[in-house]
């Protein structure tokens, strides 16, 4: 493996040596107003349409071209294009600041050349979301939400109403790698899933990869959701915030050293619990129910070549039933990043990342008090390098050393408690990776993006490690004493390949194959967003999950790139999938691995996407036709059955219309086939209770779901010192009862019979209003 990477590297170095009389332009593209670096801005040459690049995750670009006179074009969605003449005879640094467009202006002065990146860049299966759009999409209780918005894209499905979990191309919700400034987020939901952990105020850029995963990402089967926080305004101090019905938020940002360094701090808190205090109902008054989160970031640019970034996130949910039970949970992350330019062509980013998730459940009653905790801590050292060899090759390579420290479960209790203390053994392991990839522009029409990732899991001692048979009985047990004892090792080679054939600058065809593996698995036997997440690493019993995906797509732009159309077809095979045996109790259980059962899965589908990115009226229509199935020996007689999240049809429509300078209207509509469910096929009496019997797993469907939400933003009159706006939204406009669950029980009206009961969460429309300000 190491040898083949070395060979690839040598080959490219050789290519580089042959490339003659070339000069390199490199630099950083920023927002002129705030100094934020821009991700994915495209840099092209007017004279050579085939030559171009895009800024990377750090706003950096590098482009090598044959010496000559050129006009460089810098374009980015939401910004005015800049054309810069350059006389290129030696390496040059060109740093550019793009000024943001004012919505209406854009209609009048139509940019000469709108981006066709989606057609010409080889990456497929990716969606980038524009924060202005996210902020205009109407949402529940006015709490705008990245995760809710991405589920409006084709191929990405919401886990259901009041749930921020999401499924990508048939994968499970723990198969998404969610990164916030490169730190994995283990639980992305607040308030049992009604809100996500991402405060949009603090977010700069959101990209989601559904397929054709770049080699720099790994560790999860289905998708990568890469979220970058704002760096902070390095020109002026700014304060912005909002006051809503259930929560308020505030953000402060400004320069540390003008044009060189800046900071940003953003926080929010819900206050439903403050209302609880006002009620006279004593049973509600003592309860707690809230969450808060804080995002902070600072950066300093020493010079053109060196910059340092430090960022962090802290969030916590607290839920308590007065004097009975309390629970709280949350994520903590920290990222320290150093970017360095070795040469005009070699860019490096070094990160040290910390990520932690824990939850606490507490019994508060006197003789029944206990405290149960579970925790996962990660320390990660990551090195990513980007090397441009001519304009034909961009090489990316790097490594990742990640240490997982898992405390699966601890119970502590006072002496008089009926609960005993219990400590499940901690687990340690390294999840390491080595990768290299190349984007090779073969000619005007053909581009290859190919790479290889070698992922490894090294499960370490100390502890007692057992191996179980299918029935869950211990076959063997071995005690390891030292932190350096290797218990189990898995190495997985993950090839990634994408080809793009550009027919012309408005049409292209892409195809990709990629393999992904996953060595950290979430165990949670309710399908829900309860915070009792338990993470386990691959082990003697659990094998790495493996997914192979092939996809192909057609991409077309029309009306001068104002409209983007794409359709992608995919097929995915999944191995070593995990489910639980009936009656499993996963919490604080030393033998949790004895409760697992393993199977396989497959998912396939077609996605159609039409998007209008620019203009007064913009938005998109997404449609997915898909199937997702699982196969386990001991479920459904070993036959394939639809996974719960299998949704045949899924439609979403998003429209945003800017009426005038002050009013913007938005609307979303969703329709989806009901979840696959298991209904009873008979009943009998068991211990005096009506009990149901079942046949086929998930053989039936919930009724289909649909919902219309609308929103409006009223911008306040222009004012020198401050700016304010009102956001109104109505969730579930026509008060549709979207079925949440269907259960069966003894009839309350006709004795001795059974009735089916449909529960809906939001059977009414839910209006909300938020006041936003900045100065």
């Amino acid at each position: 493996m190491a040898k083949s990477i070395f060979t690839i590297f040598i080959t490219f170095t050789a290519i580089a040596a042959y490339a003659q009389k070339k000069a390199t332009i490199n630099g950083t593209v920023k927002d002129a107003a705030t100094g934020e670096t821009l991700i994915g801005a495209s840099v092209t040459l007017q004279e050579l349409s085939a030559v171009g690049t895009a800024t990377n995750n750090y706003g950096f670009y590098s482009l090598a071209v044959t010496e000559g006179e050129y006009t460089l074009l810098f374009t980015c969605v939401g910004y005015n294009t800049i054309a810069q003449k350059v006389s290129l005879h030696k390496n040059q640094v060109i740093n550019i600041s793009l000024s943001p467009k004012n919505g209406l202006q854009e209609v009048v002065v139509r940019a000469k050349r709108l981006s066709n990146d989606n057609v010409v860049l080889p990456q497929m299966g990716v969606e980038k979301l524009n924060m202005t759009q996210i902020n205009q999409v109407p949402v529940l209780l006015g709490e705008r939400d990245i995760l809710k918005t991405i589920t409006l894209l084709p191929g990405i499905k919401s886990a259901g109403e009041g749930n921020t979990g999401f499924y990508v191309r048939g994968g499970a919700s723990d198969q998404n790698l969610i990164l916030l400034d490169e730190a994995p987020i283990y639980n992305a939901s607040h308030l049992l899933g009604f809100f996500s952990t991402f405060n949009s105020d603090a977010i700069k850029d959101v990209s989601i990869y559904k397929g054709g995963m770049p080699a720099e990402y790994g560790g999860r089967l289905s998708s990568v959701l890469d979220i970058k926080m704002n760096d902070g305004n390095d020109k002026d101090f700014a304060v912005q915030g909002g006051i809503g019905l259930i929560s308020s938020r505030i953000k402060v940002e400004g320069p540390l050293v003008k044009d060189k360094g800046s900071f940003m701090v953003s926080a929010r808190r819900t206050y439903v619990d403050l209302f609880l205090k006002l009620t006279t109902d004593t049973s509600i008054r003592g309860n707690s129910l809230y969450f808060y989160d804080v995002n902070a970031k600072a950066n300093y640019h020493f010079n053109d070549k060196n910059a340092i970034y430090i960022s962090g996130y802290l969030g916590r949910d607290v839920l308590a039933l007065k004097d009975v039970l309390g629970t709280n949970w949350g994520n903590k992350t920290g990222t320290l990043r150093f970017t360095h330019l070795f040469s005009t062509r070699l860019f490096s980013n070094t990160s040290v990342i910390y990520s932690s998730y824990n939850f606490v459940v507490q019994g508060l009653q006197n003789t029944r008090s206990f405290k149960a905790t579970s925790e996962i801590n990660d320390i990660n050292l990551k090195e990513d390098l980007q090397y441009s060899i001519g304009y034909q090759h961009t090489l990316k390579f790097g490594f990742n050393i990640l240490l997982h420290d898992i405390t699966p479960g601890d119970i502590t209790s006072p002496k008089n408690s009926s609960y005993n203390e219990r400590h499940v053994e901690k687990r340690h392991g390294f999840e390491n990776a080595l990768y290299a990839s190349d984007e090779w522009k073969v000619n005007k029409h053909l581009t290859f993006l190919y790479g290889l990732r070698l992922g490894g899991l090294f499960l370490l001692g100390p502890g007692t490690f057992k191996t179980y048979d299918d029935a869950g009985n211990v076959i063997s047990s071995k005690i390891y004493y030292s932190k350096t004892d290797l218990v189990k090792k898995y190495l997985n080679l993950e090839p990634r390949f994408t080809a793009n054939y550009v027919i012309d600058d408005q049409n292209s065809i892409k195809a990709s194959y990629n393999r992904n593996t996953q060595n950290i698995h979430l165990l949670s036997n309710s399908s829900s967003n309860t915070p009792t997440y338990l993470y386990v690493m691959s082990s003697n019993n659990i094998k790495p999950e493996i997914a192979d995906q092939v996809s192909t797509g057609y991409f077309k732009n029309f009306s001068d790139n104002a409209f983007e159309f794409s359709t992608e077809v995919y097929y995915k095979w999944m191995q070593n999938q995990i489910d639980y045996k009936d009656g499993s109790q996963l919490l604080v259980n030393q033998d949790v691995e004895s409760l697992l059962t393993y199977g396989s899965g497959r998912a396939y589908g077609v996605e159609v996407f039409l998007k209008k990115k620019y203009g007064r009226f913009n938005g998109w229509i997404g449609y997915t036709l898909s199937r997702t199935e699982r196969k386990f020996d001991d479920i459904n007689n070993g036959h394939y059955y639809p996974a719960r999240q299998d949704r045949t049809h899924d439609v979403s429509v998003v429209g945003i219309y800017q009426l005038n300078k002050r009013w913007t209207f938005s609307s979303t509509f969703i329709y989806g086939t009901g979840n696959a469910v298991t209904y009873p096929t008979g009943k009998y009496s068991s211990g005096g209770l009506t009990t149901f019997s079942y046949s086929e797993r998930n053989g039936r469907r919930m009724p289909s779901s649909n919902r219309l939400d609308i929103g409006a933003t009223l911008d306040g009159k222009e004012h020198k010192k401050y700016h304010s706006s009102w956001t109104f939204s109505v969730y579930n406009v026509y008060a549709h009862r979207d079925p949440y669950s269907i259960t069966f029980r003894d009839s309350k009206t006709v004795p001795n019979t059974t009735e089916a009961v449909e529960t809906s969460i939001f059977a009414t429309l839910i209006p909300s209003v938020t006041w936003n300000f900045n100065f």
């Binding site: 009936d582 009873p680 797993r697 949440y740």
Partner: protein, 265 residues
């Protein structure tokens, strides 16, 4: 540490404001005429009963066709064999039998040319100390009470409990089980949480405590998990694993039984 219950409670706390229920019509597929075995051997001297039925369509009334003409015997590990006779149809009894702690009982049923077997171990009795009622912190506003059972778990052995509750002689339609995973050897107070019948002062509440073996506990625990449809619809329901082979519905349980009745204060 009954997690599904905890989240069921917390979640309903949030949903109470907006969620709503509606009785609907659903056409279901039917797979009926499956054999259902309900066998109980208790530690009380007297007739022991094994019932054989078949399941019916969900849309039917709750009357289950008896399986008649079966040969039913129960034996213990010492070789004692008890013959069960049918009366009325589908109900098989042996007049005088007492289950003894530590004994393994095996039922043998021959019906329609097929033989079914199931074994269950009668656990040692753990005494039910008392049953009490108190204000429920969960829904105290409506004046309803919760019922708590108190017992001293025996140390060093795995104990499993199944509780049945009646309010004014009406069975509470909830599976209520507990084990000593987290409470081994301790004095335990266990709340019989239910939302089926509101319990008020003056009500007569009867609780039966059964000490059951591990397989029977898993059977009831699985049913309990399926009962609490928490966020996302809870666990996917399926026929709970039981001790009968070849596969049939129901269970065969050898258990101890104790009953206490209180008047709710």
């Amino acid at each position: 540490m009954k997690t599904p219950l905890i989240y069921f409670m917390l979640f309903s706390f949030i949903l109470v404001i907006t969620s709503c229920d509606k009785v609907i019509d659903i056409r279901l597929d039917n797979e009926t005429d499956r054999l259902v075995i309900e066998g109980n051997i208790t530690d009380v001297l007297g007739p022991q009963v094994i019932k054989l039925n078949t399941n019916v369509a969900v849309s039917n009334t709750n009357t289950y066709p008896p399986v008649t003409g079966a040969t039913v015997t129960v034996s213990d590990q010492a070789g004692n064999v008890y013959k069960f006779t049918e009366a009325p149809a589908g109900t098989y009894t042996t007049p005088k039998m007492i289950g003894v702690a530590g004994n393994t009982y095996t039922v043998n049923i021959v019906t329609n040319g097929k033989t079914y077997k199931a074994s269950s171990v009668m656990p040692k009795l753990v005494a039910l100390r008392s049953v009490s009622s108190s204000n429920s912190s969960y829904n105290s506003s409506d004046g309803t009470r919760k019922i708590t059972v108190h017992y001293l778990d025996s140390k060093g052995v795995a104990n499993q409990y199944n509780f049945l509750m009646w309010v004014n002689d009406v069975r509470v339609k909830r599976v209520l089980v507990n084990n000593d995973d987290f409470t081994d050897g301790n004095s335990v107070s266990f709340d019989l949480m239910e939302n089926d019948i509101g319990i008020n002062p003056g009500d007569k509440v009867t609780v039966e405590m059964q000490c059951v073996d591990k397989e029977i506990y898993t059977y009831w625990f699985t049913l309990m998990q399926q009962n609490y449809t928490g966020p996302g619809g809870g666990v996917t329901p399926s026929d709970p694993p039981n001790n009968i082979s070849p596969s049939a519905l129901g269970y065969f349980s050898a258990h101890t039984t104790q009953t206490k009745t209180i008047t709710v204060k």
